[in-house]
């Protein structure tokens, strides 16, 4: 069974996954929105594979009161190479679709899973790092905190909402697409 080629339909689904992964490069992957009475429209940190967007300067200005390090693109080395990793993954997926070999698909799924877990771990590491390594001379003392990857967190009068962006959903969809051949061609 293992040596048998994947069906054309499966190959098509995997190719579709490659397209989704590739297009995810142009969408935000993760974001955080801060709300407070004086910021009813919310302040944003929006993370793309290769850049940060949103009201970063304002968030940094506010965070300096609790002694948090400033967010900037230079502070996240990942942003310089993440796009190549994702691009590479898209390319591998495309190759899998062309080769139509089950073994390669298993390898791709494995790689995908490990990459995903690493990504989640990395994000969690940064959140932990920023929330707990606060300057000892900060004007306002707060207990160290770790915002969730998805969900709500409250700090002083700010409610923060962390959420997955379009890019993450695209990659999740791509993951579902590459799992389907496991059923289809079992």
């Amino acid at each position: 069974m293992a040596g048998k080629k994947l069906s054309i339909l499966s190959s098509g689904l995997i190719a579709g996954a490659a397209v989704l992964i590739g297009s995810s490069l142009f969408f935000p992957w993760w974001g955080m929105e801060f709300f407070a009475p004086q910021y009813p429209e919310g302040l944003n940190i929006i993370v793309y594979p290769d850049k940060l967007e949103g009201e970063i300067d304002i968030v940094n200005g506010l965070n300096h009161y609790i002694g948090m390090k400033g967010f900037s693109e230079e502070n996240f080395p990942e942003l310089t190479y993440l796009k190549y990793l994702i691009g590479g993954l898209a390319l591998l997926t495309l190759i899998t679709a062309v080769l139509r070999r089950k073994k390669v698909l298993y390898f791709l799924i494995g790689l995908f899973s490990i990459g995903g877990l690493l990504g989640v771990w990395d994000l969690r590491r940064w959140l932990h790092d920023f929330g707990t390594d606060l300057s000892p001379t900060a004007p306002i003392k707060v207990d160290p905190f770790v915002p969730p990857i998805i969900g709500e967190n409250t700090l002083a009068n700010f409610i923060t909402n962390s959420y997955l962006g379009t890019g993450s959903f695209l990659v999740l969809a791509a993951f579902i697409l590459i799992l389907i051949p496991l059923w289809k061609d079992r």
Partner: protein, 623 residues
């Protein structure tokens, strides 16, 4: 089994992607439902603008001798902002920082009379507001992105441009005629020589939008009369303008009596396109550095229209076909026709000349005299969307609505005491809105809590939407509400932060670039203000101190690097009579001589955060 799994997962994936891309989670629009229910409202409901909603109109009210402009919301009549124009204002640092101090030119007050919006095709475009100073003969322009004054010019040869500013259809010119005749150059001349040496000079002022600078294109040496009010033509009359004048008696003392003797005074009717051409053709004299047209030497473009004695207001109808003058001392309004005037000029139907200017025969240009029964002291006229006229009656304290086409009185409403001007929503454009009219009342009595002998002036909001005019709100206001203009709120597009200007040599946008440079006895500080600190020199042991020697000339360039809504910082030096403001993203400069030795704390005057109190530093002056 085998087949539907991929189909189902495919559909699920598609739905997920479609939700992410196309779903609209924004809340729906509920404003339309609210707008429809205005009938049967009580007066309180008609003017109530609940928290979270905004007024429909901005009202820009002149502050008279306060030298300021007051901004209100209509219909709530809430005072939103005071904008200093001709007077210093320590709340905003106006008159203390370098730019505004230079604009003030050493004056400490002004008498702001007639505000005027910039126009495009005869309609307000919401870009700029002009104003004139009767007190010290100046003109100013305010930018409506920031509500700050950008330029002020002194208008030479003129004393008290009362009847300005009025703006032509596409803001080509704003004309500033003088109220007090003076000799050219404001030089000394005895009053016995009044008729020969004195002049009521009118200036044609232009505005360069790119540089935000006012300029004088040319002047006209009108006869030594007092010019009172004016309006620019519209549509068919767009190249023309009108202004009323009194004291054609050329009296030099006790004007109350002596300037009220002649049975007729004049409206000056002029074609500014023709005057412009005369200047191009060199038909002018160079006087005190200005291109001055003398009507007795260079004929053309100017005519006099006889009008009932001591006229006050003159207003052009929205269709541009008529102008209506109100006789302060003759209890009637006179409707004149531009078309008749053009014909009379063509046919030379003149009744002689005054000071070299042809007088058009009254019968040739007058259309009708309107005299509502017992209405006394007509002053100013505004218009609604149907072209109906609303005239303030100073003496009989009322607004009279009438039809300029038939002269018929349609409605009258009393107001609490002596209205001067009134303003209708976009009421002096080619397309008035109707809806609201505000009577600007000069004298108020018994309406509000007493504040001593001088009562608060007031503005009364009149609803024009029903069959009858109705006063629906009254508000005490800062002195002196002289004239005002009302603009639809959505025409004004303000900014929330100043954009970065990388070309500005005085700006520093990061802490690392802050520095203090000394050049001889000049000290230049390039500093930043941010929540909640000043940094003047990031590398210094104490980045928030400035040390100079007594007698040094100090330049402090301060940039607010908080690019955040409403995080305005102030900068004051304790005991040095200095306070300036830097709005978000703005760079501002204060320039002064450190003439007092000692220790002077610096602090932020504009509340900026919980640690605003700690936003301080020291200014040390070595003896």
């Amino acid at each position: 089994m085998k087949k539907w799994i991929p189909i189902a997962t495919g559909l699920a994936t598609g739905l997920l992607a479609a939700t992410v891309f196309f779903a609209d989670f924004s809340p729906g629009d509920r404003n339309e439902a609210i707008a429809e229910s205005s009938k049967n409202k009580t007066n309180a409901e008609k003017v109530y603008v609940p928290f979270g909603e905004k007024d429909e109109y901005y009202l820009f009210a002149s502050g008279g001798h306060s030298g300021q402009m007051f901004i209100y919301g209509v219909p709530s009549m809430r005072h939103i902002r005071t904008v200093p124009v001709f007077s210093p204002d320590s709340a905003t640092g106006y008159g203390f920082d370098k730019h505004s101090k230079e604009m003030m030119g050493g004056f400490t007050w002004g008498d702001l009379h007639h505000p005027a919006f910039s126009e495009t095709n005869g309609d307000y475009d919401g870009k700029y507001m002009f104003a004139t100073d009767v007190g010290n003969s100046r003109a100013a322009v305010m930018n409506l992105e920031t509500f700050t004054v950008k330029d002020i010019i002194d208008v030479p040869n003129t004393s008290g441009p009362h009847c300005a500013a009025f703006v032509t259809e596409n803001t080509e010119y704003m004309f500033l005629p003088t109220r007090f005749a003076v000799p050219i150059g404001r030089e000394y001349a005895p009053l016995d020589d009044y008729s020969e040496k004195y002049r009521g000079v009118m200036s044609a002022v232009t505005f360069d939008e790119k540089k935000e600078k006012l300029n004088i294109a040319y002047q006209v040496a009108l006869p030594p009369w007092s010019y009172d009010l004016s309006d620019a033509g519209k549509k068919v009359s767009k190249d023309w303008a009108v202004m009323t004048t009194y004291n054609t008696e050329e009296a030099t003392t006790n004007l109350e009596i002596n300037a009220s003797q002649a049975d007729r005074d004049f409206i000056v009717l002029f074609n500014w396109k023709e005057l412009e051409q005369m200047v191009k053709d060199g038909k002018y004299d160079e006087v005190t550095g200005q291109k001055m047209i003398f009507p007795e030497k260079h004929k053309g473009g100017m005519y006099l229209v006889p009008v009932a004695k001591s006229p006050h207001g003159v207003d052009v109808t929205p269709d541009g076909k008529h102008f209506i003058a109100s006789g302060k001392l003759a209890p009637s309004m006179t409707v004149f026709s531009f078309e008749k005037a053009f014909k009379a000029i063509e046919n030379k139907e003149f009744a002689g000349e005054r000071n070299g200017i042809p007088i058009i025969k009254y019968e040739s240009v007058m259309e009708k005299e309107v005299n509502p029964e017992n209405a006394l002291g007509p002053l100013h006229t505004q218009f609604d969307e149907q072209g109906m006229a609303y005239t303030t009656m100073f003496i009989s304290s009322e607004i009279v609505k009438w039809d300029p086409k038939t002269g018929e009185t349609l409605d009258r409403v009393p107001v609490q005491y002596s209205p001067g001007h009134s303003v209708a929503a976009e009421g002096d454009t080619v397309a008035p809105d109707g809806k609201y009219l505000i009577a600007l009342n000069k004298i108020a009595k018994d309406s509000y809590l007493s504040v001593g002998p001088s009562h608060p002036e007031s503005m009364q909001l009149i609803d024009l939407r029903g069959d009858k005019m109705e006063v629906i709100q009254s508000a005490p206001v800062n002195p002196e509400p002289h004239y005002a203009q009302m603009i639809k709120a959505d025409k004004i597009k303000t900014i929330t932060v100043y954009p970065k200007d990388e070309k500005n040599p005085d700006a520093v946008y990061s802490q690392e670039e802050t520095r203090i440079e000394r050049k001889g006895n000049e000290v230049h500080v390039y500093g930043i203000a941010m929540r909640s600190k000043f940094i003047f020199d990031a590398k210094a042991e104490r980045p928030d101190q400035i040390e100079v020697k007594k007698g040094d000339k100090v330049f402090i360039h301060l940039t607010n690097i908080d690019f955040d809504q409403d995080i305005t910082h102030g900068f004051a030096i304790n005991g040095y009579d200095l306070n300036i403001e830097v709005q978000p993203g703005q760079t501002n400069t204060v320039e002064f001589t450190a003439d007092k030795a000692g220790t002077f704390p610096i602090y932020c005057t504009n509340f900026c955060s919980a640690l605003h109190q700690e936003m301080t530093g020291y200014f040390l002056v070595k003896p």
